[in-house]
């Protein structure tokens, strides 16, 4: 079987781990061959490919970004886009495709799959807002970067007796904001899912400053919105694909917080550093396991499906259950690690 591999949408740490695992597993377990598609769907529209084998995927595991390049190009926004995609796949003798991406990339994959394209998906987005899976590649690295930043910003906020407003990514979902906020001990967190009332938030800050502390750390997701009628924020500009260009809501909130509380408020926008750099161990393992699963899924003909991981909830067990037996690594998981031996 010959497969194309592409990465689409915003880059994130862990993409190279996925690419490496798909290729290694595919070649070693299934005798597959691979072609790298450059810059997401654009590579299939423009027929831009690169060799992709063991040699090309050696040493890329700890590297951020994607060796295949990425873009937000969507075949359905181009004339004859879907037909061009099919033509390019045929030209290279490809039997199917592994698409690694978020909402946009996999949205196109879903439509193409309905029209008969043989494609399997791998979920990645630092925002962690894709359905069907509890965690996506890149999310945990973004949380680590944001947590490190929040830890450090404490010293500046405290030295100046200020409120530090930290803006993190999250267009539709507050995953990064809540995880990094919990990990960093934020004093307030604003997210898209729960429209905020700035007056209530400021009450928290005033209470905190009156009772025990002279500074606060507030985390805001870029897509956070105020409760209707509580605060007017300017509309964000729209990009060439029609999506609002978020980022910068903190600049509008800071003066409002300052006005309401009288506390000096400063802004730090983490921006692209959240998705740059080397992936944390969790994302390397997740990317690797997703990659293995995607190669296996393609080998089994599971077209039109996406690999996913379900493990989110905290439950409880009896103490007796907890100590009755040690939690040991399963043979299956060890076999996943074995894919890369030698």
């Amino acid at each position: 079987m010959r497969l194309g591999v592409l990465t689409g949408g915003g880059d994130c740490p862990g993409l190279n781990a996925v690419i490496r695992a798909v290729v290694r597993r595919g070649i070693r377990a299934h005798g597959m061959e691979f072609v790298g598609i450059q810059d997401g769907w654009r590579g299939l529209l423009d027929d831009a490919t690169q060799p992709l084998g063991i040699a090309e995927t050696t040493g890329i595991l700890p590297r951020g970004g994607t060796i295949l390049g990425s873009s937000g190009a969507n075949p359905y926004r181009f004339e004859d886009g879907p037909a061009k995609v099919v033509a390019t796949l045929e030209r290279h003798g490809l039997d199917g495709l592994v698409a690694i991406g978020g909402e946009g990339t996999l949205g196109a994959a879903a439509r193409l799959a309905e029209e008969g394209l043989k494609v399997v998906g791998v979920p990645k987005t630092i925002d962690n807002d894709l359905g069907g899976t509890d965690v996506t590649v890149g999310f945990h690295t973004a949380v680590q970067v944001a947590t490190d930043a929040i830890d450090r910003l404490h010293s500046t906020a405290e030295s100046h007796d200020r409120v530090m407003l930290v803006e993190v990514m999250g267009r539709n979902a507050g995953w990064i904001a809540v995880y990094a906020g919990m990990a960093g001990g934020a004093d307030a967190i604003m997210i898209p899912e729960q429209p905020f009332d700035l007056d209530t938030g400021c009450d928290h800050l005033r209470h905190r400053h009156a009772s025990r502390s002279s500074f606060s750390i507030v985390v805001v997701a870029e897509g956070a919105v105020p409760k209707e009628g509580t605060l007017e924020l300017p509309e964000p500009p729209v990009d060439e694909n029609g999506f609002p260009r978020l980022g910068g809501v903190a600049y509008h909130l800071a003066p409002e917080i300052e006005k309401r509380t009288g506390f000096q408020t400063r802004v730090t926008i983490l921006g692209h550093v959240q998705r740059g750099g080397s992936p944390v161990a969790f994302d390397r393992v997740l990317g690797t396991r997703f990659g293995i699963a995607a190669a296996d899924l393609a080998a089994a003909g599971g077209w039109g499906r996406m690999v996913a991981r379900k493990a989110q909830d905290i439950g409880d067990v009896t103490l007796a259950e907890a100590v009755a037996q040690r939690n040991l690594l399963t043979p299956e998981l060890y076999r996943e690690a074995e894919v890369f031996f030698g």
Binding site: T7, G10, D11, P13, L15, D39, R63, G64, G65, T66, G69, S70, S71, V145, A149, D151, R152, L153, H154, S155, T156, E158, S159, H160, D161, M164, S214, R266, V267, T268, I269, G271, H272, V273, R275, G276, G277, S278
Partner: protein, 382 residues
């Protein structure tokens, strides 16, 4: 002797190490140390007739109190930008408001001297940048024994080659630049990385030099954004990963343009900057049609723990300052000159802000670091 110590201006990593080192040296020799909270504001807002204000604005420092403080960034004494020689109505404590009719800046130096007297402080170690130290010089002129310690992550205090905080700021910036490379490369974009540095472009220049940035725009040299666009497109073409990056000082400005200012002026007439990077990004996008990544490093440059070089300098400066006071020398600024620890007359801070040595370190035509004559330069090039 009773020594007062305070930190003013923006926080930098290393201040706590200085506080600890000075305290241990002075107490070790049988002297007392008093920490003054929130910089000069601590002295301005202290009312000798109100014991509560003494309690809230000072803290007795001894080896037990300072034992673990050097492990964290910021300053345990907290800081402010208040200058008691120029106090506006909003910063003036009620008990000093008598006679105020407008928002005119007023001089409360005499009050500060009364407070020092009341606290029994014989000598001061102020740690700060040129603003904080300009008031230290004022007190020196009035006869108060002072030895000052220079800190700013912009490295812009006259009289010294090095200020506490600069190394960590550069270290952080270099790390972030390398992290941004993967995003810039994956999307084949132009990246504009804005760094703090109001009047001095040293953070932009040195970070770019150390991280191998394609270009560096600095506060000292106005730039032509069309020319920058041409350079970056050329850099991108030559880069096998098809991206290009530039640093830019927050205080940079276009040829013929002014510094892009936002926000209100603070007590020193400084404006809160930020914005030239975003404007440059917009302009580059318009000129080249390329996707742009614009990233401000901002407070992350100076937040958190100090790196080893800042620890080294912070500790040595503080030990030297305490030594000078204990031997009866004052009116001095501790400093690094050509790689050696020295002390210089505090009057040097009258020269205002020190700027990057453009002739020796920068190529004004190519918009990038160009270090000339490394032979004979001190380790940090300054």
């Amino acid at each position: 002797m009773r020594i007062g110590i305070l930190t003013g201006g923006g926080d930098v990593p290393g201040l706590n190490a200085s506080i600890k080192a000075a305290t241990n040296r002075a107490v070790g020799d049988g002297h007392k140390v008093v920490g003054i909270r929130r910089g000069w504001a601590g002295l301005l807002e202290l009312d000798p007739g109100d014991p509560e204000t003494v309690r809230t604005h000072t803290v007795a420092l001894d080896p037990d109190v300072v034992r673990t403080i050097d492990r964290t960034g910021g300053t345990i004494l907290h800081t402010s930008r208040t200058n008691p020689a120029k106090v506006r109505a909003s910063d003036e404590p009620d008990f000093l408001k008598a006679g105020r009719v407008d928002d005119e800046a007023r001089d409360h130096t005499l009050h500060v001297m009364k407070v020092l007297d009341h606290l029994g402080i014989d000598a001061l170690i102020p740690i700060g940048g040129d603003d904080t130290l300009s008031f230290a010089l004022r007190l020196h002129d009035e006869g108060v024994p002072v030895v000052a310690v220079p800190k700013t992550m912009d490295n812009d205090v006259h009289g010294t080659d090095y200020c506490i905080g600069f190394s960590t700021a550069v270290t952080r910036t270099v790390i972030f630049i390398h992290q941004l490379r993967t995003s810039a490369g994956s999307h084949e974009r132009l990246a504009v990385v804005e760094v703090f540095g109001r009047y001095s472009g040293e953070t932009s220049l040195v970070s770019a030099y150390l991280s191998g940035m394609d270009r560096a725009i600095i506060s000292e040299v106005p730039f032509d954004v069309e020319k920058l666009a041409t350079f970056l497109m050329d850099d991108k073409r030559k880069n096998p990963s098809r991206y290009a990056m530039t640093t830019i000082s927050e205080g940079a400005h276009f040829v013929g343009g002014e510094m892009v200012m936002g926000g209100n002026a603070d007590a020193y007439g400084h404006r809160k900057l930020g914005g030239i990077g975003a404007q440059t990004g917009e302009a580059l996008k318009e000129i080249t049609g390329e996707g742009i990544i614009y990233q401000q490093i901002g407070y992350l440059m100076r937040s958190g723990q100090p790196d080893s070089l800042d620890l080294m300098v912070a500790i040595n400066y503080a030990v030297m300052a305490a030594d000078l006071l204990l031997e009866g020398t004052h009116g001095r600024l501790v400093a690094l000159r050509n790689g050696s620890y020295v002390n210089v007359p505090l009057e040097v801070v009258r020269q205002g802000v020190k700027r990057a040595d453009v002739d020796a370190l920068y190529d004004v035509d190519e918009y990038r670091p160009k270090i000339r004559h490394v032979d004979g330069k001190p380790m940090f090039l300054y």
